[in-house]
């Protein structure tokens, strides 16, 4: 700020400090221009990255298929944890990619959010079942605990049961190599 009690001898010093606000404002404009025109990437990385999975135990979504608990991870093998629901459209879109990953030998665990057994059974019959286990998260509580805000979301869980990567939204074909890479890194 300009010192009001300063003697006039300081007038020279003032002459450039006076332009300082404009310079700062210019820097602000440059910064937000950058922000405005950068490729849109609004995904917020979960705060849980590199943390152990939160503890949970979910009942089976289907009577003839095992349920899921956090104990099922950390068995020395990296896994994918896919959060989905039969009522979710993008989940249908990502089903072929999940099938492809399962075919490549990736263990995939599922959490179905607010789903009904008959709807889920129809969904799996139509789109295939890549899941080793499916836990039923009927209140969405586990989903929230995982820091997931929607379906589908997919987590890479490493061999020690820590979350290593969070993929928000459906898995497109171009995402498959990325996920495989993350799984490899999580060994």
């Amino acid at each position: 700020m300009t010192d009001p009690s300063a003697p006039p001898a300081n007038a020279r010093r003032r002459s450039w400090t006076i332009w300082l606000p404009l310079v700062l404002f210019g820097a602000f404009i440059v910064l937000v221009l950058f922000g405005l025109f950068r490729p849109a990437d609004r995904n917020v990385a979960s705060a849980l990255i590199d943390r152990p999975l939160p503890e949970f135990t979910l009942p089976a979504s289907l009577p003839d298929h095992p349920g899921l608990s956090s104990q099922d991870f950390a068995d020395g093998q990296p896994k994918l944890l896919n959060i989905f629901a039969s009522w979710c459209l993008p989940c249908k879109v990502e089903a072929p990619q999940l099938a492809q990953l399962a075919a490549a030998g990736v263990p995939i665990e599922g959490i179905s959010v607010r789903d009904r057994p008959e709807a889920l059974r129809a969904f799996l019959a139509e789109h295939g079942n890549p899941y080793d286990r499916i836990g039923a998260d009927d209140s969405g509580a586990v989903q929230l605990a995982l820091g997931s805000s929607g379906v589908p979301e997919t987590y890479v869980i490493d061999a020690k049961g820590r979350i290593r990567y969070q993929h928000i939204g459906d898995i497109r074909p171009e995402h498959v190599p990325l996920l495989l890479e993350k799984l490899e890194a999580a060994r």
Partner: protein, 648 residues
């Protein structure tokens, strides 16, 4: 028809803003003096037309005219009337229309009542106001026409975000906007004064009521918004350092600084350039805040109306308005001759300290808000939250409390700390006793400890300027200062107490089971469905008792809206003089138990009570200033009249 009327009014208002700008600018040249008579009436009519446009928008929302695109996108026929009306500004286009309406009305009001400034400065100010308005009119008419029609009209609308369907929130944005946009007057004043180089006590006195009024609305808006977030979002928190909250805090900080520096300018004719600078900065912060919120450039929980393309438009407006004003400042500020000098230990000195510290806090908040963007430019993703804002802000806020305690007791020009020191013994004793009590009790972190202790000290010290004064003859402005400063202390006590002594409980209860939180016993007696106008809910009946007193029932709800489908939790609050019980109903677990979240928050209500006191203080000061200005004008007119008669 109504929509077309609104659109026509908007175009006309924009055209008048062009006229206002050019007529006002022409009067500054020698040949344009004839235009002087035009500017004020044009400003008034422009404000009225903007109001007509806004009224038209309210009308199409009130009757749910679904052929208007904005209504179809944001409203629904099955919604209570008050939320239909509030829906008019619960979206981007409508809120921008509210923005220009407030700007237009403020300009009109200014044109009608302000007679103290030299006429050239006044006309330059109105031209400045028209210039800024014009940008926003262009934005509305080109990029966000609120009256656009849909053909064919849909049979039903999309509905309003259920979180926004709340009475408190319905009136939160207009209040905040009155504050944001009210600061445009200070901005235009600063620009006008730079153009004509007329900066002095008269200018400060003319500007002060406007700054005060905008600041009061900002204060109320922020406090109300904080309370809304507190009870509606169901997280039990009242401030999250979210970009949108910061966007409202930054103009408030700048306006608070301006309010104090303008007093120095009015009373002592010092801090000329600095006051002008703050006038520019305050409204700039309003615009920057709006830009940050609207462009979606920062991720925020508040992103109710976000669009990157519109962001570019606002950014362009920002660059022109703020860049222009700052450039003008650079060119002219050096020629604004400096005012009176003063000693460091004096009222002026304390107010300068206040300004420096407030500006520092403003800088910290701005930096913290923008830092995620800086980090992203460097390839990293971060979010900045309380671990940064709280301690770093406190670094400057705590010394400011000291200045706040001492400053009002200092004399103008020159004073000695020894004289004031004796008077400060009482608050110092209070601080000491509180500190000892708190250390003995334990359990509070460093910041809450300092907050509680210093809050008490400030609350006591703030009343001291009334000592040795005849209370009846104390000017309202002094009362205003005392009440506002007391509010700061009270609010701080609330914040510190909430963060130090809150008790939280997350339990799963079967009906009939009990739990306790702090001094409360809580029993879940039933969970039953209830229905509202556009929602259904599960409502828990919680029978609660404070210590061993009689029981009360609170009813938190988990609401499901169907237009659009969304779930919200309606927390239940039970207020006692010494705090609030806060209850939230979560989901049903598979075994028939209900998740219930409970908080006991001692003295949390003081946060908003303090906010209310701050606003009340502003109001008292405003009334006092305006009344004394009116008296002065009347007296001047009387003398002029008498002289005239004698001359005859």
């Amino acid at each position: 028809m109504i929509a077309e009327l609104g659109l026509a009014a908007l175009w006309l208002a924009a055209a008048l803003a062009v006229l206002q700008l050019f007529a006002g600018a022409l009067t500054l040249t020698r040949r344009g003096a004839t235009m002087a008579g035009v500017v004020r009436p044009v400003a008034v009519v422009q404000g009225i037309l903007a109001l007509v446009a806004f009224g038209a928008l309210i009308q199409v929302f009130a009757v749910t005219d679904l052929s208007v695109k904005l209504v179809a996108l944001n409203s629904h026929s099955m919604k209570p009337l008050v939320f239909k009306i509030a829906g008019a500004w619960g979206n981007h286009e409508g809120s921008m229309l509210l923005w220009v309406t407030v700007m237009g009305l403020a300009g009109a009001f200014l044109a009608l009542v302000e007679r103290r400034l030299p006429e050239p400065t006044m006309l330059a100010t109105l031209a400045g106001q028209a210039f800024v308005s014009l940008g926003f009119y262009a934005f509305l008419l080109i990029a966000s026409n609120p009256f656009e029609r849909l053909d064919p009209a849909p049979v039903e609308g999309n509905g309003l975000n259920p979180l926004l369907q709340d009475l408190g929130l319905a009136f939160h944005p207009p209040t905040l906007y009155l504050g944001y946009v009210g600061l445009s007057i200070a901005f235009s004043f600063a620009v006008g004064a730079l153009v004509t180089r007329e900066v002095g006590p008269a200018f400060a006195r003319a500007m002060r009521p406007w700054v005060l009024a905008a600041w009061i609305f900002l204060t109320i808006g922020i406090a109300a918004g904080s309370y809304w977030a507190y009870y509606e979002l169901g997280w039990g928190g009242w401030w999250f350092w979210d970009p949108v909250e910061n966007a409202s805090l930054m103009p408030w900080l700048a306006a608070t600084a301006l309010l104090h520096s303008v007093s120095v300018l009015a009373a002592r004719d010092a801090l000329r350039a600095w006051t002008i600078m703050l006038g520019v900065v305050a409204f700039s912060m309003s615009m920057v805040g709006t830009f940050l919120v609207r462009s979606g450039i920062l991720t925020s929980v508040h992103a109710f109306a976000v669009d990157p393309e519109r962001g570019s438009f606002i950014l362009a407006l920002l660059a022109i308005n703020i860049g222009g004003a700052l450039a003008l400042f650079g060119l002219r500020a050096a020629t604004v001759t400096e005012g009176e000098r003063f000693a460091l230990v004096s009222r002026e000195g304390a107010l300068v300290m206040n300004n420096v510290l407030l500006s520092a806090i403003l800088g910290i908040v701005l930096f913290g808000t923008l830092y995620p963007l800086v980090a992203e430019a460097l390839g990293a993703k971060v979010s900045v939250g309380p671990p940064y804002f709280n301690p770093v802000g406190a670094l400057f806020f705590l010394p400011m409390l000291l200045v706040l305690a001492v400053g009002p007791m200092l004399r103008w020009r020159r004073d000695s700390l020894g004289r004031v020191g004796k008077r400060l013994l009482i608050p110092a004793a209070v601080v000491l006793i509180a500190a000892i009590v708190m250390v003995v009790r334990g359990g509070a972190g460093l910041l809450p400890f300092l907050g509680l202790v210093l809050g008490l000290g400030v609350a006591v010290a703030s009343i001291l300027p009334l000592r040795e004064r005849n209370l009846r003859r104390t000017p309202l402005a002094i009362w205003g200062m005392v009440v506002a400063h007391l509010g700061v202390g009270v609010s701080l006590i609330g914040m510190a107490s909430e963060s130090a002594y809150s008790v939280e409980r997350l339990v799963a209860l079967r009906t009939g089971e009990s739990t306790s939180v702090g001094p409360w016993q809580v029993r879940l007696s039933a969970v039953e469905p209830v229905a509202g106008p556009n929602w259904t809910a599960l409502e828990a009946r919680l029978v609660v008792a404070y210590e061993d007193q009689r029981t009360t029932i609170v009813r938190p709800q988990a609401r499901s809206f169907w237009t659009p489908p969304q779930q919200t939790s309606e927390s239940a609050l039970l207020t006692r003089w010494n705090g609030q019980l806060y209850a939230v109903l979560g989901g049903e677990a598979s075994d028939g138990r209900w998740q219930v979240r409970l908080w006991w928050k001692p003295f949390v209500t003081l946060i908003w009570l303090g906010g209310g006191l701050i606003a009340l203080g502003g109001l008292l000061a405003l009334i006092g200033r305006v009344a004394s200005d009116v008296r002065r004008i009347v007296a001047r007119d009387k003398i002029a009249y008498r002289r005239e008669r004698q001359g005859r």
